[in-house]
Symmetry: D2
Subunit: 348 residues, 4 copies
């Protein structure tokens, strides 16, 4: 399918930041045709009206979700708030459509845990088991044949890629991992809410949700699978006075002398097109990956207190959302994995 007729793509909830980012990427993807972009709030309005950066690249008009025959698409992306995809996905799956959900609806395997963190019962718990968690670096083969792909959260992507080599190789104490993570404000989405105003978030910095954040169970679930044992994680998210970018600073206590950790990371990610392990002593800037689908990682061996420190950066809207979703689509439909995702980080 990688050559020949383009695949038909639908996007549900195209007005948020992950939606417009999907459009920015897919508009230049040689193998897709954007068939429908739905938005209840902006139905009838040309996409490029709302997003003038897309003028001339995207001709689509936002449509009512109901008005579209999404069942005729090959793949439908959900770039919707949590709780929407789980209501629509079952019908689409029955119609043979591949569903890639950028929300949290299919990320957790345990329906009760989902209900606890998201405040309502899950609408189709029977699909949770089938859903493939779309982190290609650990689940590439399953993604190639998935019907339903749960695209990972932005924080979970940065944290899991950062800790994966340590956990897979059982080098660190797993019951007291620490993830101190910082995100640009676009990670909070495009919502008219007071705390997201420039006057509230500019020139200031704070932690939030220290008592508990929805990405915590998603990260723990992933780390447990890597480690093959229970995991204790303290996860503290922070809001950066900037727009794009996540920086995870990860702390893990070594069990014994850990060996050459740098080399371990380089080997683990040698064949990964979107994970770039920096040379020893480097500190990745989030801007290195701005607008790109890359994760850059640096690893520092223990200072005084026996902690390995890992630095992991992504663009929350690309590798943390829309870019990873397209990477998953590429895998699923037999495109070259990097198709449409070659953009280089915008510096400065």
């Amino acid at each position: 399918m990688a050559s020949g007729k383009p695949i038909e793509v639908g996007i549900v909830g195209g007005t948020g930041y992950t939606g417009v980012e999907l459009l920015r990427i897919l508009a230049l993807h040689p193998g897709v045709h954007i068939r429908a972009v739905t938005s209840r709030a902006d139905a009838g309005r040309p996409v490029a009206d709302l997003y003038p950066n897309l003028r001339g690249y995207v001709d689509a008009v936002f449509s009512e979700p109901a008005a579209e025959d999404l069942g005729a698409c090959d793949v439908v992306f959900f770039a919707t708030p949590n709780g929407i995809a789980m209501k629509s996905a079952p019908v689409l799956l029955e119609q043979g459509v591949v569903v890639i959900d950028l929300s949290a609806d299919f990320r957790l395997k345990d329906a009760d845990e989902w209900a606890r963190w998201y405040g309502e019962p899950h609408a189709c718990p029977e699909l949770l088991d089938e859903a493939v968690y779309g982190l290609p670096e650990i689940r590439r083969d399953s993604i190639r044949s998935a019907r339903l792909i749960a695209n990972p959260g932005c924080y979970p992507t940065a944290v899991q890629l950062g800790l994966m080599p340590l956990l897979e190789n059982r080098l660190v104490v797993t019951d007291r991992l620490i993830a101190d993570v910082k995100s640009g404000v676009s990670g909070a989405g495009r919502k008219a809410e007071m705390p997201l105003l420039m006057s509230e978030t500019g020139e200031s910095f704070k932690a939030y949700a220290v008592a508990g954040h929805r990405h915590w169970p998603e990260i723990v679930q992933g780390l447990v699978q890597m480690a093959g044992e229970p995991v204790g994680l303290t996860f503290v998210p922070h809001l950066l006075p900037m727009i794009r970018g996540i920086h995870a600073t990860l702390y893990a206590a070594v069990i014994d002398e850990p060996g050459d950790v740098q080399q371990l990371y380089e080997q683990r990610y040698r064949d990964e097109p979107f994970v770039d392990v920096l040379p020893p002593g480097s500190h990745p800037d989030t801007r290195n990956v701005r607008g790109s689908n890359r994760c850059q990682i640096a690893v520092f061996e223990p200072q005084g207190s026996g902690q390995i420190v890992v630095l992991s950066v992504i663009d929350n809207l690309v590798k943390g959302a829309a870019g990873q979703a397209v990477q998953n689509m590429n895998l699923r439909f037999g495109f070259e994995e990097t198709t449409g995702l070659q953009a280089i980080g915008l510096y400065p």
Copy 2:
């Protein structure tokens, strides 16, 4: 030449922001091979060491300018401070190399005026007449056959594209034009200077060089050619607390009832791939064109005081520098004009 063997490209002065931006664009251009990137200060250092966003895309190592046989290139870009290109270009031109100069050395036609504004005599005044001012929207045909292309300044690009339709059609009073122009700090280049520190330019805004700025004579020269008569211009540049983007707010008093100015702009730029006239009532954000080679323009007909107001935005490093240089290269070497320049503005 557009198909077949890639052309050989040299970049002199690759460590500044226009240099790295050239690399970001050329690294994905299908028709070029980057043969040499010179930098006196960083010779011997891999380019991607200095610019980690280019890791895996650019293998080049910075080299001493003298050490390179730039004469074997098809085209050499000068991304150097003013005063360098004029000393090296003559030799390269004799060797049959096309020179695209991103500095100011060949922009002014009058050597005395050049000397007045740049503080030293011009090194090769005999080339000023031949040099083609590389603004494709007004000089496309000359560019196609030029040996020496003077790539326009960032402010001059935004201002000239904004005023061109008015002046070509003699709709406005030309002796009191006003250009109130605002630039992100990357326009000042990558120089370790106090006024460019984040602590100095962040969260603050100011005008500078109100008494006179080097882009003034360049703009005036261009406007005079469009208008076919003398031009009086007040030009006030300002520094924005952000990195990329120029916004020109232009004021011109109408002579008579000006007719449908919106339509005039749309027609003038209908076939231009990189000038986008927005619908009536729009206000372009600089972010619409961040990382893209586009100029977006909006035009407002007179309010009370008989002034047409034009808003014109570009990314100073792309359409205002490296992107326009590649556009010129494409024209000169028979590539599709948009090759390598398809990137969509990064929003948000």
Copy 3:
């Protein structure tokens, strides 16, 4: 009254940025007692809960406007959206309370013009004539005895102070004045609106309301009074990617040889405690006045096209709102004019 018992102060609408800024200033003012701070939305909540910077300085709890005996105050500030003060002021005035309105309700003298720009009939047109426009630099004496003070808008303050000496001395052509004005986002207030999000306004710049802005008639009204003749003004506001600060760049064509304009400005403002004319050649940064009640002005005599260029900066929340309101209160109640307003601009 300047010594002895503090005056009783009420603030209506204390949850916006001008409200919290009033509190920040008044909390350290030695001559006032904050008796009531009302807010319909946050009634019952301690002020310092919402604004943790005020913890320990302001003990007040937001109250329902209706629940307060504002009539027992000496002065009531309205820091409300437009259209509120005009409904409540008459009753307070009857009770002998001095009203200082930071909204636009009493700024225009012409009730029809008010209705045209603000979209509803004025509720008490009979008070418009009595209301004193609270720009101390031109109306100090009237303020000292006013019952009702219309505190000027932020843009109008910067523009009027910038042009005043030119107009009072009839040095410039008045029918084609240009004010190109840039504001930090706090000028738009504390409202949960999409265009004010950090992701929308950060790292970007744009003009807005080019077709017409509510501050235009206010500015024109003021300029006409200074000039003593009709005035034509083109006014273009822009949104800066920063929080506090306004920078007005003003263009006025000279009539004849204007003489020593620098000296004219220095003399005009010699005795003004809050207007600071910079030495020739200076360019004021908005940060110079961040958090301070100052206006800094620089003036440049004509370049080529016969335009005087004036640069005028203020902090939109201080001299452009709350600080000027306290300056007016000081004048009205016989305090030293600078009481509580000594803060020095926060640099860097």
Copy 4:
């Protein structure tokens, strides 16, 4: 001395950010007279020329250090780069001048450790023992009678105030403390260095000096004194894309059930004028303390992995430098501790 004649103050190295911040604070301090402000680079230039925010408040002219009779001052502040104060302090102390050093010269007790981290032998190791570490919250009494005060670093202030109650009460495991700390760029000082440019630090975030930072031994020295036992600390500093503010996120594993940690913090700091413990569940923004001398702290009891998380914010130039220095001066000279330090955080 608190009433009567003002004390005579000298500032050595007044052109950096801590220098101008000292001037901003001292200019409004009722008990001091600024006798001299020295700067080798800017000697002869009025202070307000370089810092237009100080126009009208500070009349001083920068002078050559040698040209001043600093020995006639009551107190001299060193706002110099490391390595200067240690050469000048001994003479001043002999002349009976109190020295408050804002650099690192007298912070470490161990001269060898100082030499290791600062790259040269210490010039007066015999004074290290006498020097009082100027953190009033733990050493108020010693400060009152000190001749030589070592003003703490910005990171060490935020970290020590954040961990003090836990260590003093032996509630946590001391051999694996983690301090993940983020600073605005003004913390790096006013130096014309490439990495501090707005184009380099804006809209991006990174860790730095993970392999070792000079504030590490200073923090460890302080924590050891609080804990009364050896301490293992992993300290990772980061650079925020903003100007002022430090946010420390601190992780400490509890030994047993820790009891009511919130109450412990509130009691520890109940009488501290500049430490403000927030209510349970709060997350301090750095902007709460922008321009103020406060430290705001929030404490969260263990999540899953047995870690107490403490959030501690200061303005790096105020409580982290100049404000704390004035607080120390107030203590030393018998002023009210809060004199000149009442400014409320600038929000928004």
